[in-house]
Structure formats: C-alpha cells, structure tokens
C-alpha cells in the first residue's frame, strides 16, 4: 500500500487512522527487533494522533496527510519525545520544542509512529555508527541499509511506515534510499526549514521525504516545504503543488549524462541498470545529452573539509553543562569537558570533530577551509553551466549495492567513497532524488539519481513519476 492509496482509503473512511496506526505499530513490534529501524516507538503519542486524525477525517478538516503513519529520523526535535541523534550524548534528551518539519507534519494530521535510527549525528554511510546499534537492510539482514538515514530507509523497505523523513548532508537520504529500493528526495538547500533539526553541517544539511513512490514523496514534500522565519537560510519562495505537477510523459525534457559519473570501474550491474533507465527515458520522450561536470573529482575532499569544519563547531555545545551526557564525578571543568565528550561521542563523530578542528585552525584555514569554499563554488558553477543545456542530470546514486555489515566500518576512506555520486549535489545546494531502477544478481536494489536546478523539485518529481509509471522497480518489496 502506498501513501496515496492509504490517503484515499482514509478519506473514504474505508479504514480508520486508528486501525491503520495499530496495524503499523503491530508490524513494528514484530519486525523492529530484527531491523532496528526505530530508536523510539511512540505508541501512546501515535494512537492519540490517530484518534485526532479520525476526528478530522470525520469533520472535514483533514488534509491528504491526515492519519498517515510516518517515521521521523531521530534528529528532528520532537517536543517531549526523546530525540537522540543516534548518540549516547543525547540518549536521554527530551526537547522542550518542536522542529518545524515535525510541527508541519503534526499540523497536517500525520501520525508520528516514532523516531528512526541513524548514524550518530548523521555521520556515516552505513548506519553502523549509531549508539543504538546498526540498522539491518530488510533485503538482506546481513547487509547495511546505507546511512545516515538508514532507519528511515529500512523502516520503509520493511513496510513499518507509509513515509519517513530523512536528512541529507552528503547523500544521507539518497544513498540509503538506493540501497533499500525506495524513493528519496533531497530538496534544494533552504527549501525545507532546518529549525529544530539537529545540525551536522549547517550549510549542507537538508530534510526531505523518503517514500515508496515519487507521488508519495510529492505529498510529503508539499507538507514540509516552505520559508520559515525561524531559519534565516530557508528560501522565500512559494511552494508549488508538487502532486498536481506530476506527469507521465517527458517529451522535450533534456537529460544530461555526466561522463564523470560513469567511471570505467563502475559496478557492471549498476551500469546496466542505468543504461536501461536511459532507454526508458527515451521511450518517455526525453532526449539524452552527454555533459561534463569537470570538478567532480574534488567533491569528496571538499566535502570532508567543509562538513567536518562546521560539525566541529556545531557539536561544541555538547559539553555536559546544560543538557545531554555528563561524565561521573568530574575533577574540574576541563575533566568534565574532556570525559563527557570522550564518553558521549562515538569514534566517527570524534574523528570528524578532530578533522574539522584541524582544518579551521590557524595556519591551516587558508590551505583547507578557504580553498574548499572556492572549490565548492567551482563545483556549483559546473552544474549551473550544465543546466544551461539540460533540464535534469542522471547519474547512479551509489558505486555499489548494499554491502555487508562490518565491511567498511574500519576503513573510513572506503566508507566516504560510498557518497561519491551524491556529495556534489549538497555542495551545490541542488535538489536531487534517488529512485529504484533495477536489482543486482542477489536481488539487491539499485538506485539512480536525478539532479535538478535550484527549486525545481517539481521537475524532479515529475520525471521520477513518469519513470515509475513506466517501470515496476519501485514496487518491488523484500520478502517479509
């Protein structure tokens, strides 16, 4: 069942929000111990919200999202509901405020089932850095679901929610979406408010929907997008009707195929799936245009300067003083800082704090951070140039399909390369989607990425919808 189908059943009262919510809560209770997609399940809150949703569905004040059970990545602050960010540091943290994203979802009547697992502070590509244990990929529980929104992706793949919210700093929505065979959208930087979303790298972080289809994602995005006075970096632009904009044909659409995203050593099955997808787009009326994004190879080093730099500063507030983990019996102030942070943060978070502190330190700033900002501009310019000639850009989402748990966790560089194809988009602030476009020999999902110009989420969703109308890949589900 998709979100759109469920919304229709709710609207016609063929099913109640309480029945729907109960069904999902039962499924979570059965499968979450295996998948570990949720850190917190809010039975009481969900049932309460479902009851209110039924009231709205009866009295005519419902929206299309009313009564829809969803999961929210555990870095969106939810008032009085534990928000851990996947970290021991915030294991007991109950925010006294609501993020703009969850506030909008609640106002629309969505039912939040719980908070989904994630890499600690969204730092990771496999969901193995979570303090609350790794998430298993529902397609093969010996494999990772991707990260950092691994819980949100796995919850969908295991049908534990009708939609989930993720966040994407370097691929954290798209990469797990690809590895779990679902649809994930990273909006334009500033399209969705970051207020109340726990920061990893402020200039790159963006919240977005994860769903079974582009049509479902369109509904969720419509609910959460828009300018927010509480976020000075959110964009003051009207939110188009994404659902209405969905099309089934792509006549006249020019799709750019960047050579830099098809390395010779690209996984052959992924290469094959992409080639087939290109043919589908041609059949839908689109034309394919080879393009070049020459600065692509600098994206990973640039990202691993800028993101850790911002993170090292964003995470300074976790000092054990006002909230969060504090070590036992500190000797003095320095001891309290050192041990609270040393005991409260995991290895990957500490690695990035060190990296970020280093690149910002005096004597290195110009060589690293300032230079990275210049390269970031060049990477963004590549895209602006390309979009003079094409409407969308098509690439693989990941270099491989889901890899086994433990495979790369001790090799940070190998792990960082998982985000090879997704990172440039964050540096350029562009909207991009991953949608399923095939499977490998083992049946593991393959995803492809589409990238659009600033604020052209409608074009992105429309193309994805056309593709999904013509192909069955998004309907594949893992064996229960």
């Amino acid at each position: 069942m998709t979100l759109v189908q469920a919304a229709s059943l709710l609207r016609t009262r063929q099913i109640s929000a309480q029945e729907l919510t109960t069904a999902f809560l039962e499924r979570i209770q059965r499968l979450n111990p295996i998948i570990n997609a949720f850190i917190t399940v809010d039975h009481e809150g969900a049932m309460q919200a479902a009851k209110q949703a039924d009231a709205r569905l009866n009295n005519g004040t419902a929206t299309p999202m009313t009564g829809i059970p969803i999961g929210v990545k555990d870095l969106f602050c939810t008032e009085n509901l534990t928000t851990t960010c996947g970290s021991k540091m915030l294991a007991q943290f109950r925010p006294p405020y609501e993020s703009t994203v969850t506030r909008k979802l609640k106002e629309a009547g969505a039912v939040i089932l719980g908070k989904t697992n994630m890499d600690e502070f969204a730092m990771g590509s496999s969901n193995e850095t979570s303090f609350f244990g790794p998430v298993k990929n529902p397609w093969d529980i010996s494999r990772i679901p991707g990260g950092s929104s691994g819980g949100s992706a796995a919850a969908l793949a295991a049908q534990l929610a009708l939609a989930t919210i993720g966040s994407d700093t370097g691929g954290s929505i798209r990469q797990p979406a690809a590895l779990t065979g679902i649809t994930g959208l990273k909006p334009t930087y500033g399209r969705v408010s970051r207020s109340g979303m726990i920061a990893f790298a402020s200039s790159l972080d963006q919240a977005g929907p994860m769903a079974w289809s582009a049509a479902d994602a369109a509904m969720v995005l419509h609910t959460i997008a828009g300018y927010d006075p509480l976020d000075s970096t959110s964009i003051q632009a009207d939110v188009p009707d994404y659902v209405n904009a969905l099309a089934t044909r792509m006549d006249g659409i020019r799709i750019g195929i960047p050579t830099e995203y098809r390395p010779d050593n690209l996984n052959a099955e992924i290469q094959k799936a992409l080639t087939e997808a290109e043919q589908t787009f041609r059949d839908l009326g689109a034309s394919l245009v080879p393009i070049s994004l020459p600065h692509t190879r600098y994206a990973i080093p640039t990202y691993y300067i800028i993101a850790p730099a911002e993170a090292s500063s964003n995470l300074a507030r976790y000092d054990g003083i006002r909230f969060g983990y504090r070590c036992d019996d500190p000797k003095d102030l320095k001891d309290m800082y050192t041990r609270s942070r040393n005991e409260g943060f995991g290895a990957e978070v500490k690695r990035r704090i060190m990296l970020g502190t280093y690149v910002l330190s005096s004597g290195y700033y110009d060589a690293y951070y300032r230079k990275a900002q210049k390269v970031r501009r060049l990477i963004a310019d590549d895209f602006h140039q390309a979009f003079q000639h094409v409407d969308l850009i098509l690439t693989p989402t990941t270099p491989t399909t889901a890899f086994p748990l433990g495979d790369k966790i001790d090799d940070p560089i190998a792990m960082y390369l998982s985000d090879l194809f997704t990172i440039s988009v964050n540096l350029a602030g562009l909207p991009a989607m991953s949608i399923p476009c095939g499977a490998d020999q083992l049946g593991l999902p393959i995803g492809m990425q589409m990238i659009a110009p600033i604020l052209k989420e409608d074009k992105l969703l429309s193309a994805a919808h056309a593709f999904q109308t013509a192909t069955p890949w998004h309907q594949r589900k893992p064996e229960p």
């Binding site: 200039s203 000075s232 910002l360 005096s362 951070y369």
Partner: protein, 481 residues
C-alpha cells in the same frame, strides 16, 4: 605619574557597547538587566540542539546609526562568523561575531585635548557580536553557577586606530564615544554595570621612531578613570623594562583597581585558537543605500553639531556650549528650557551654575532633577517679564529644587510677585525717606553712595518684591527733585 618624555605612547581602544535593543540579538528573550538568574533564556540563547539564530533587525538599525554618527563606511555586504572556544558561560561553544567583513569600517571621531586643540581619532571597524553569560564562583565550595541571562545580549565592538598618544586622549575618546552612543540612545554607556566595556592596547616607542613597539592588551578597566590609570601604569612599566635593557612580552594583562597595578593573565586564559569561519546559519547581511538613507534621515543632532549650533545661533560661549552638550540629557534640558521662552544665555547660566551646582552637591544626575526644564524655562521667563527679581528667583528656585512645584504657584503662594506699581512704590519710598533723614541729607551733600542703602531699605520694606529698576528711578527722582 608622568612618563619619560623620551618616549611616546601608542594606544588603541576596543570598546564593547551593549545595545539597548528590546530583545536579544538572535531570539525574543528580554535584555533587561538584573533579572533573577536564568529567567531570560530560551532554547536559542541557551544553544539547545537544532535551534537557529535569527538576527534582530533593531540591532542592525542601531549599528547603522552608530556607523553614520562616526562617519564610517557601512558595508553593503557584511558577514557573521563563529569564534570558537569552550567556556561554560558560552553555551554554543562559539560566539557569533563579525570577523572578515564587519558592518562598519573607516570611521572617525574628533576629541578635544586638554590644551583645547582638536585631534581626529580613526575608528578601524565596528562589528556586531553576541555577549556571553556569566559564571559565578561564589557559594558552594567546588561548584560554579552559570547565569545565561546576558547570553545573547547584542554588542557593538568599536575598535579605534592606535591614534591615541596619552591617557588623557584615551579618556577624551571614551567620553566622546560614550556621549555619541547615548545621544543615539543605543547604549546606556554605564561602565560600572558593564554596558560599556573597554580594553586598551598599549605600546611605547622613542620619539621620532616610526616602528611600533610590542604591545600589551589591558583588560578589566571598568571606568574611564581606570582606563587612564592603567594606560599610565602600563606605559611606565614598559619604559622601565626598555630602559633597563629588557624587552616587552606581548600579553594580556588584567588591571587591578584595588592596588593600581596590572598582572599578566595566565597563559591558559588566553591561549586560544578561535578557528573563525563564516557562520553558516546566517546568510550575509545586505544593507541597501535606501536603508542607510532612511536611518540617516532620523539621525539625531550629535554633540559636535549641537555645540556648534549653540555657539553660532544661540550666542553661547564655547565653554557653556561644551558643558550643555556633554550629555544628551543636559542638552535636552537646556533646549526645553529655551523653548519656554527663556533667553539662551540666561538659561545656560541657570543650568550650569544654579542647577548643576545643586545637583553636584546632592550627587544627583540631571535626569533626577525635580526641577523640570519646562519649569526652569518658566522661572526665567518670570524674571524676563519683570514679574520677579533675580534675587527672588533664586528663592523660588530653591523651593522648586526641593518640591518640584511650578514657579508660578510658588510665587503666588509665597506672595513673591514683584511690585511694579509706581504708586505703591512711591508711598513706600516716601516712608523710607521720612525714616532716614540723615541718609537723605548725606545724599544731597554729594555722598551718592548712600543710594545703595536707601534702595536696600525699600527692598527690605517690600521683602525684595519691588521692581529694582522702578525703585531706582523713583528714588533718584525724589532725592534730586
């Protein structure tokens, strides 16, 4: 305390001025001073996870005003940066400040030196930043308390060029800057309460040398007097070191006003690498020329302009104009008195002699005066209209100062109205002449000095209320007639 004439001082001041915005710089919390600890905080200023700063536009207006007042260049595009360091009263672990692109650059103000000459002092930059909270180490042994009420209070940091050459110039600069900030109503300028803070960078060099000496930074200077003393002390300390063949260590030193000396801050307290980088949560601040023009239109008249106008248009002396424009409140008091019809020179006299004299004796500020400018203006008008004499006016003023009552009522209630009715005065004079035949005789014999005595008798008989001009004229007439 005078330094070696072979040396000259090079002084630059960094002033932190708390802006009087209604709410904090990045959230809606109140900025009122003195509230119970941690009652004026929210998730934003306490830096809870996920919250974001939203810039207070009132602060930007105040910064533009200040920039215009010191003839600075207001950047079309300025940017906020993070200054990273750990301290318990800095909840985010970084201070949001401006670093590479401050809102204002290249300003200046003019100070008057002790010899009356003027000197232009450059202002390198003015930038906006956020104040930290307070750590309290009193109370329970081994514990510290954090009060975050002040966290998020907006500051302007105003950095001068090293153009100041004496402690007196530094004092004059601070006084001038404080007056401007108060005229603009953007800052209380209260150094004791910390709403205006000053650090001083001091170095010395031999006269004629152009190369700057090694400087030290002085902190904890909580009055203009302490700023001047600390600079004097520091210059002498540096000269002593140089004269004995030593060299100056670049360091930060804390002034201790109790012992009139400074000591170096421990290295730990200052060894920071702040790792500045542009604040990603705030877009660059863009200020259009229209916005600057709009602020400029509403800029109040500033001390220098007012002072010149008082001399040029109202005929005040340079000295009086200086006294009356030293603070915004004083100037307003004067101008309001004049608006009541008081002659400017007379009003200036009354304010600087009578009012300020009394206020100083009682240790009061002009804002605390029970005599309102309106009442003082009316009192002076009564003199000008010959309704009371200057002497009576002083009696009336004393009552006004004590009670705050208006001058007309006081004159009425105490029957102090001047007698100008010539008939009444004539009959009193007739009586005085009759009572003092000896003096009348002396006058007529040419001892015209007794005139004073006779006038005095008339005034005494009328309890000072007789119009002295009329008394003089009539007496003259009677005695010579």
């Amino acid at each position: 305390m005078s330094h070696d004439p072979l040396y000259e001082m090079v002084i630059g001041l960094e002033v932190h001025a708390q802006m009087r915005t209604r709410s904090k710089i990045f959230c809606g919390c109140s900025t009122t001073f003195g509230a119970e600890a941690n009652t004026q905080i929210c998730p934003v200023c306490a830096a809870f996870p996920g919250v974001l700063p939203v810039l207070n536009t009132e602060l930007v207006q105040m910064a533009i005003k200040t920039g215009l007042a010191v003839h600075g260049k207001i950047r079309e595009k300025s940017e906020f940066s993070r200054k990273n360091y750990f301290y318990p009263d800095l909840p985010a672990g970084y201070q949001i400040s401006q670093f590479e692109l401050p809102i204002i650059e290249q300003g200046e103000l003019t100070i008057e030196r002790d010899d009356g000459s003027h000197k232009r002092i450059g202002i390198t930059r003015i930038h906006m930043e956020v104040d930290a909270g307070k750590s309290l180490h009193e109370g329970i042994q081994g514990a510290s308390w954090i009060d975050l009420n002040r966290t998020g209070t907006p500051l302007l940091e105003i950095v001068s060029e090293p153009d100041l050459s004496t402690p007196q110039e530094a004092g004059a600069y601070l006084k001038k800057l404080r007056a401007i900030l108060r005229y603009l109503q953007v800052c209380d300028g209260n150094m004791e309460e910390g709403s205006l803070r000053c650090d001083a960078n001091v170095s010395v060099r031999r006269h004629g040398h152009t190369k700057l000496g090694t400087r030290t930074e002085l902190k904890n200077l909580n009055s203009i007097r302490n700023v001047m003393r600390a600079i004097e002390y520091e210059a002498n300390r540096q000269i002593d070191i140089l004269e004995s063949g030593g060299s100056i260590v670049q360091e930060t030193r804390l002034w201790d006003a109790n012992i009139n000396a400074s000591r170096p801050m421990r290295n730990k307290e200052e060894a920071h690498d702040y790792r500045y980088f542009p604040e990603p949560d705030l877009p660059p601040l863009v200020i259009t020329q229209q916005r600057i023009d709009a602020v400029a239109q509403h800029l109040p008249e500033l001390p220098d302009a007012k002072r010149q106008r008082f001399v040029r248009d109202l005929g005040l002396s340079e000295y009086d104009a200086g006294v009356l424009t030293a603070t915004r409140e004083m100037a307003m008091f004067f101008e309001e008195s004049v608006q009541q019809g008081a002659h400017p020179k007379t009003a200036a006299n009354w304010i600087s002699v009578e009012l300020l004299g009394r206020l100083n004796r009682e240790n009061l500020e002009i804002e605390q005066s029970k005599v309102s400018p309106n009442h003082l203006g009316r009192l002076i008008t009564l003199i000008q209209n010959n309704e009371i004499s200057g002497k009576i006016a002083k009696q009336v003023f004393d009552i006004m100062f004590e009670t705050g009552a208006n001058p007309e009522t006081i004159v009425q209630e105490h029957g102090l109205k001047q007698v100008s009715d010539t008939g009444a005065i004539e009959s009193i004079i007739a009586q005085v002449l009759a009572d003092n035949p000896q003096q009348v005789q002396q006058y007529r014999e040419g001892k015209t000095k007794v005139m004073g005595f006779l006038v005095g008798q008339v005034m005494k008989a009328t309890q000072g209320k007789a119009n002295p001009t009329a008394v003089n004229a009539i007496l003259q007439d009677k005695l010579t007639g």
